[in-house]
């Protein structure tokens, strides 16, 4: 290897030096690779085990690797859900002195899944809708901080289960750009159009590969992102006017945003027409309303919907035990010790990699509800728990580190491989 390997990293992990940087990614030996990706992404991406966690390694140009590393760090500071940039490695060379491309190393998000790994046989329309909704939330959050993505797609996103919904994380920031002054309407519209076309393309590709339910309509689903985005954008940023007698509408707006999982950090309130009309517009909104509340009360760090679910259970606990007059933090602590932790501790060690604890808790509550419904009587939590562990959880696959390529799309500079596809009858039927 040439002697000028250069690692830039905020949290330098010496284990990084053990990876075979003197080899092209395509030639990495299997002992270095966590799992072989099945497809080909825009750039070659491989996963490797690194002192107890998995990293994704992407070969690209030095300039682009540095740019994306800095961009991901900036997005993290802005509280955007995205992958964790670990290092940029430049100055790679083979033992013969040939130059190798630079790489960007990111840390794999535990329990996050590429969309293609979220379903076992075929993608159903309702799952696809939830994915699209999660992507719409991510896109709105990115646009609020002034980030133009430029390549919005399911492939460039990772998903975490979030109590019946999904939470989306940005994976690929290569084409993105941050505009500190905010985005123009044209930029937002363009990102939406890119999203619409890409999602449709990705779903059509699943259909072409026989992996989409026959009721799944790619065009209709991809149009869904536009509607979901616009609705959320209006709620988060739109102004509304009302008569000064209707001041309750300020509170109602705040509550609506809380329900959507957002807190208003700054609200502009203006009076007009001699004080008879009030106009309000949220100026700064923060995602994670329920997450923050749960974290403050219990120290648990979960997804937004999981937090909502856990908080609901906490509320039921307070009501069922007549503890409404007690200090909320004290009861929350009690609930944590008496309800939540026993469930987590009851999960056998070998099943801990299946799902995140908060997701297990959510699924357990769902399971108990179904059992109770079938029996037409309340099923105790302990009984539901053992049934859930043995009948449900044990049969799931491990999702802690499910690895698949972030995209199976092909890119231009890659070498061609032999055709193993059979020619289709008539291409005119396909376009």
């Amino acid at each position: 290897m040439s002697g000028s390997l250069n690692i830039t990293s905020a949290t330098a992990d010496p284990a990084l030096l053990d990876l075979p940087w003197e080899l092209p990614l395509a030639d990495w030996p299997s002992e270095s690779i966590a799992s072989l990706p099945k497809g080909i992404s825009r750039h070659l991406v491989r996963f490797a085990n690194l002192s107890g966690y998995v990293v994704a390694v992407k070969e690209t140009t030095a300039e682009m690797a540095r740019g994306e590393y800095d961009m991901l760090r900036t997005l993290q500071r802005l509280d955007i859900p995205c992958v964790d940039p670990l290092a940029v490695i430049t100055g790679r060379g083979t033992e013969n002195g040939d130059e190798l491309p630079s790489v960007l190393v990111t840390r794999h998000l535990r329990f996050s899944l590429p969309y293609r790994a979220l379903f076992s046989q075929q993608l159903r329309p309702d799952t696809a809708t939830r994915l699209v909704d999660a992507l719409a939330v991510l896109l709105v959050r990115l646009h609020i901080v002034g980030f133009f993505w430029g390549d919005v797609s399911l492939s460039n996103t990772l998903f975490r289960r979030d109590a019946g919904a999904f939470a989306a994380y940005l994976v690929d920031a290569e084409t993105g750009k941050l505009y500190p002054g905010g985005l123009s309407r044209g930029q937002r519209e363009n990102d939406l159009e890119i999203a619409r076309v890409n999602i449709a393309g990705e779903l059509m590709d699943l259909a072409a590969g026989g992996r989409a339910d026959e009721d799944l309509d790619p065009v209709e689903l991809s149009n869904g992102i536009v509607a979901a985005y616009r609705q959320l954008w209006t709620e988060l940023t739109g102004s509304e006017s009302f008569s000064s007698h209707e001041r309750w509408r300020i509170r109602s707006r705040v509550e609506r945003l809380n329900d959507l999982g957002f807190d208003i950090e700054e609200l502009a309130i203006k009076t007009a027409e001699g004080g008879t009309t009030v106009r309000i517009q949220p100026k700064v909104v923060d995602a994670g309303h329920h997450q923050r509340r749960l974290l403050r009360l219990t120290g648990l760090d979960t997804g937004e919907n999981q937090a909502r679910r856990l908080l609901n259970d906490l509320d039921s606990y307070i009501a069922a035990n007549g503890k409404q007059d007690m200090d909320e933090e004290v009861v929350a602590h009690e609930w944590l010790i008496r309800v939540f932790e026993p469930v987590v501790k009851a999960i056998p060690r070998e099943l801990k990699g299946k799902l995140e604890p908060a997701e297990v808790f959510h699924q357990l509550l769902e399971h108990r509800y179904r059992l109770s419904e079938a029996r037409d009587a309340d099923v105790p939590l302990a009984e539901a728990l053992s049934s859930y562990i043995n009948d449900v959880l044990r049969h799931r696959r491990d999702e802690a580190t499910v690895i698949a390529p972030p995209t199976e799309a092909l890119d231009l500079p890659l070498d061609a491989v032999d055709d193993d596809g059979e020619p289709t009858a008539d291409w005119r039927d396909l376009v």
Partner: protein, 365 residues
């Protein structure tokens, strides 16, 4: 197809002290390949994004054909950003990859098939329509990606540094492909690059920008032969034009011991006692006359086969000045020697020393 007009188009960023694009006036003819070129931060990408509808136009207008599109959303402008997303889907055939966006747009099946076939013929992909992308070579995949833009039949193609991610070899290949394809299609194209070689080799015309201001627009030859100011003179051409500050003499400008003749009207345009002269490396030659030309100490000679470039320095009125001259690749001076260089008289560009604007008439060949 249509022309594109920037009419006093101005983009001011919030909190910015000067316009990112300042009163841009530019007309791109129907079917023309126009390249916007300039250094980083010159406003070229901003101009393209204004045309694409991604950047607000604070003042002025943008027209596509006769239609004022200043306030029209990007997707309704009938433009295509080529290479914006070049992902190909592995389970879909080449035909599907090229045509799926039309399906989303609600184009009928027959129409889709017709447009895909037409694009495939243009791109030499007719025999591959039923194949999957992984059965294609790198170059063929790239053409499928272009096909995605072509089948939309937009009025204007926009390309923002499309070759920046490619390695040097593929960049040169793709450059040629894009240029020849654009000529065959005849679709008005606006192309952004920071690379003047790319601009010279691809564009019908080139617009040079600096600090948000249009410096000059013209054919590659115009820009090379008649740069209108010192910036364009130094930016276009590689190695760059030599720009030297020299004294004015009777009937010309002083170049070492020689006076290079310059027309009287040219000199009459300035009141200063000096001028900036520009001379391309190929317009300088070595002279054996000990009483002529400028004494230059050779620092390095770069041999390129038939030709070579001499890099040296001279003392001009007490200022050390670097120079580049094209020399014979076989017979040339060596580093450390001092040689006398002279300028081919009718190949001199004269600029005002203060404003940097061109004073002389075009170079005549």
């Amino acid at each position: 197809m249509a022309s594109v007009t920037f009419d006093n188009a101005t983009r001011m960023y919030p909190g910015g002290t000067r316009a990112a694009v300042d009163k841009l006036n530019l007309e791109v003819a129907d079917g023309e390949f126009l390249v916007l070129v300039g250094p980083s931060g010159c406003g070229k990408s901003t101009s393209l994004r204004m045309l694409a509808g991604l950047e607000e136009v604070n003042d002025g207008r943008i027209l596509i054909g006769d239609r004022d599109v200043t306030d029209i959303p990007p997707k309704d402008r009938d433009i295509a950003m080529v290479f914006q997303n070049y992902a190909l889907y592995p389970h879909m055939t080449v035909a599907e990859n090229m045509g799926f966006a039309l399906k989303i747009a609600g184009v009928s099946k027959d129409e889709r098939a017709a447009r895909v076939l037409e694009a495939a013929k243009l791109l030499d992909l007719e025999d591959y329509l039923t194949r999957k992308p992984k059965a294609l070579s790198g170059g063929q995949r790239q053409r499928v990606a272009m096909g995605r833009a072509i089948v939309r039949q937009p009025q204007v193609f926009l390309m923002d540094e499309p070759l920046s991610n490619l390695d040097a070899k593929l960049r040169v290949q793709t450059r040629t492909q894009i240029a020849s394809l654009q000529r065959r299609l005849g679709v008005t194209t606006v192309y952004v690059t920071h690379d003047q070689t790319e601009a010279l080799t691809m564009g019908d015309r080139i617009a040079v920008l600096k600090d948000g201001l249009l410096q000059q627009v013209g054919t590659p030859r115009d820009l090379y032969e008649r740069p209108e100011n010192v910036f364009v003179a130094g930016f276009i051409g590689s190695p760059a034009m030599n720009l030297l500050q020299v004294g004015l003499a009777d009937g010309g400008v002083q170049f070492g011991q020689s006076v290079v003749p310059v027309e009287r009207e040219t000199i009459a345009q300035t009141t200063a006692s000096t001028a900036t002269i520009g001379v391309r490396p190929e317009d300088i030659r070595v002279t054996e006359d000990p009483n002529a030309g400028l004494a230059v100490t050779v620092d390095l000679v770069e041999e390129l086969g038939a030709d070579g470039y001499l890099y040296g320095h001279a003392d001009i009125n007490g200022v050390r000045t670097d120079l580049v001259a094209r020399v014979d690749g076989r017979i040339h001076p060596y580093a450390g020697e001092t040689v006398r260089l002279e300028v081919l008289p009718n190949h001199l560009h004269v600029f005002d020393v203060e404003s940097g604007l061109r004073l002389s008439k075009p170079v005549t060949l």
